[in-house]
Assembly symmetry: C2
Homo-oligomer: 132 residues x 2
């Protein structure tokens, strides 16, 4: 399978696949006579794994770790669990931070009555801090 096909099947762009190879995340596949990368189903599965982990927001270092762990069948999955929990924690923190932003933005926008800049509550809010 050439890179374009595996890209379509896994949802990982060809450029990104080459990037993963350069970075050592994906092992280099064999080449055809004309020097094209020739992928098998295993590589496609790995790429799907990577893409799902990335979609869930795992960092590339985390993905590397998950990939390594996924090959050690006999090992306890406690590490996987703890990695996932740590990541969930980060995601929750990020949500909380964004909710603070959202609430403040909403408040600012609601307070603006759309006259001139000199009356603009949004600009006011940005210019001054809240406390004394």
């Amino acid at each position: 399978m050439r890179i374009g096909e595996v890209a379509r099947k896994t949802g990982v762009k060809a450029e990104t696949i080459r990037f993963y190879e350069r970075e050592g995340i994906l092992t280099a596949p064999p080449r055809t006579r004309s020097n094209y990368r020739d992928y098998g189903p295993d590589e496609a599965a790995t790429l799907t794994f990577i893409r799902r982990a990335r979609d869930l927001g795992f960092s590339m270092p985390d993905v590397r770790e998950l990939l390594e762990l996924s090959n050690e069948d006999d090992r306890s999955c406690a590490e996987v669990d703890s990695l996932a929990r740590a990541h969930l924690d980060q995601v929750e923190r990020k949500i909380a931070a964004l909710q603070v932003m959202r609430d403040e933005l909403s408040r600012m926008i609601a307070s603006c009555e759309q006259y001139t800049i000199s009356d603009c509550r949004i600009i006011d809010n940005l210019a001054a801090s809240h406390g004394p």
Copy 2:
């Protein structure tokens, strides 16, 4: 006021202030005899403005726009409003995306019973797609 003091007062690090100057976001202040940057209260106010906008998640291009608009007192603040609304929209999208991640991560973590990798529901989930 030297860069360190204005950094403390505005919460923008000295390195970042120099970076903003290089990028043309902040105009270069006069220098002392010993070539140190010498800031006045206006620059501090601008930096506070930038920091608050950044804390609210506005991009640097947005911040530039907001800074320019904030100097045009007579203009309608409709543009400010629309910029803020567009950004709020982005923030809400980001929250929604992260909530999807969070829910899926929670589900995965809850389904794992912490035996070996070969039984691990988390690894399973990453390896296979959901649909048939």
